[in-house]
Symmetry: C2
Subunit: 367 residues, 2 copies
């Protein structure tokens, strides 16, 4: 990493270059000698233990039973069909807690605002944040506001962090997993839990967020109906956990489905085979991707989840997903397989191709 002289756009693109940068960051922060909380006898019912550490590079960390995550939002433009930086900043962070199987409870909101930013736009963003927090039943409990001179930031950046907890539905989910598989050791929906035979489910159409944003930004009108899919998914996740049998979950944001599946595969040490014709993609998104030469699997999504499910119960989970408006277009797109390495896709024309983790970001500044 040290031989790279400067930060490049790829370092934030959700693919290989970004993972390299994150490994560099972790060398500094994943310090096992540092004993937290030794400034006093912290009154805790449980130990100071990391269940899901930083170097797991999962959607959230789990520490002392507290699920904790953070995200800075730099989307451009700030307002777009289906959402804005306000709804994005709440839903994106809520979903990082949700895909661990936890319930988000409270959040922070930190604003860095450019001098001269219109108050009407700020109020509109606040309203979106309030509405999305309300939908997700989370509470914004703390915040920070910095104003910087013109040119020091592109209008507004919003960071949100969130705290969540285990739920009874998550406990039930793992009871079901144990009934079928006897995997007694997993406690959270982490990326490393996939085993041979698990079904891979995606909760709906992929590519909507990226293409909606891109076409709005560039003034290309592929489909006037196309909107971002931003939505808080925590309630949907808790519903399907009541069915049970889910072992791993991610929201395929930066790097898209290609990155999410490769992370599953790499961290779990199993291959994944998916079928192109089963992947739900809108016709307008597909043709936009063809026109622009973009792989729809590499486009960032917002209100979507991809998960690994014990195969015997996958149809039940699918039914529960489709029962909800936010999961009505869900599909089983493939299976984990010990006989493969990496992610392989059976194409519609009958061939097979490897789905690589993306290098750069086909649509930057969308989250």
């Amino acid at each position: 990493m040290r031989e790279v002289e400067e930060i490049r756009m790829e370092h934030g693109a959700g693919g290989e270059a970004m993972r390299e940068l994150l490994r560099e960051i972790m060398q500094y922060f994943a310090d096992s000698e540092n004993v937290p909380g030794d400034d006093g006898d912290v009154l805790l019912s449980n130990c100071v233990c990391e269940e899901v550490p930083l170097d797991a590079l999962d959607d959230s960390a789990v520490f002392n039973g507290i699920v904790f995550t953070t995200d800075s939002h730099t989307v451009k433009p700030l307002f777009f069909p289906g959402g804005d930086i306000g709804s994005l900043s709440i839903a994106g962070t809520v979903n990082d807690i949700a895909v661990m199987g936890a319930s988000p409870v409270c959040m922070s909101a930190a604003f860095v605002i450019e001098e001269g930013f219109p108050m009407s736009d700020f109020v509109r963003v606040l309203g979106s944040m309030r509405d999305t927090a309300h939908m997700a039943s989370v509470k914004i409990v703390t915040g920070d506001t910095k104003v910087v001179e013109k040119g020091a930031v592109d209008r507004i950046i919003i960071n949100t962090s969130a705290i969540g907890f285990r739920t009874e539905a998550l406990e039930h989910n793992f009871d079901v997993v144990r009934d079928y598989r006897g995997r007694a050791d997993i406690r959270w929906l982490t990326d490393s839990n996939l085993k041979d035979g698990d079904a891979i489910i995606v909760s709906g159409y992929i590519g909507d967020h990226g293409i909606a944003l891109l076409s709005h930004r560039e003034g290309i009108n592929f489909d006037s109906e196309l909107k971002s899919d931003i939505a808080p998914l925590n309630k949907l996740v808790q519903e399907i956990l009541k069915v049970g049998g889910i072992v791993a979950m991610k929201d395929p944001t930066r790097g898209g489905l290609a990155n999410a599946l490769n992370e599953f595969s790499e961290k779990s040490g199993v291959g994944i085979e998916i079928e192109e014709e089963r992947i739900p993609i809108r016709e307008s998104v597909r043709s936009a991707c063809e026109m622009l030469g973009i792989d729809p699997l590499e486009i960032g999504n917002e209100g979507k989840i991809v998960m690994g499910v014990v195969s015997e119960i996958a149809e039940d989970v699918l039914r529960a997903l489709r029962h909800d408006e936010l999961g009505k277009n869900a599909e089983i797109i493939g299976y984990a397989s010990e006989e493969l390495r990496g992610v392989v896709m059976k194409t519609e024309v009958g061939g097979r191709r490897t789905v690589e983790p993306p290098i750069g970001d086909p649509v930057p500044r969308i989250c």
Copy 2:
């Protein structure tokens, strides 16, 4: 607020304009109808209760016994005598937890980086963050990295959020408070706890951070020895809590001592009288302020705390502070008084003047 058409620098200055903006933000977020965690039966040993809510506008929120805070850091320049954006981003957020009386345990770190930012500078910032986290015994457990195109952010912004917990020293501290005053109801070192007669202590020289940064930025050399006072104060706070009798605490960052004392006064509903000659200020800072026409009370500090202490035990707390390198220049600067309104200062020439909360920020972009 709505009649203000755009965000101005004063809205981030830590004074009156900022409080007005925060009141606007709170109208959106302090939503009592929102019941957090209703997406599932959250497994909690304690209730979903806010002990220190958003609209207390305190240094941190307290929710379900978890102390939670966030801060975005936009300091300019990134490197300066005594610190850099890395040490600042850890110490600043650690201190917001510390001044509630809690022990910070884990943190998040979210980077927004401008394309082309030198890797060597990034690595230097990471090293400072690691060292400061080590000093504070906190662990960085989760993070986020966004890269934006040139011009979309001034080099790098770092947001950190932190989680902390109650300590035995804090329990002991309030036992001592009760022994003297019988104030049974206070559980955290919030701004609203001051009562008539409480001593006001500041932990050391004020103005160092702001003047060190300003002189470095502007190339004015007031004192080649002057450095920022950035330091994590959580261990010092826990030491003095073992003495006990402390009721309220703040770190006088944006808006300086003038803002911190006015917040104490307003939220506690008591006046505060301070003596100018007791306020510890370095000679070089004092003359720099005179030269620049800046009120030293309005300058942001980093490694300093101001607190209210039961008067009978104030000398013991002062001794404990001075025993520590970070508190060796501590002074009792005044007392809370029911007979006054707001903050009044006996000047060195024998007069009295009101210390108003600052309107603008005399030294912007220092945190």
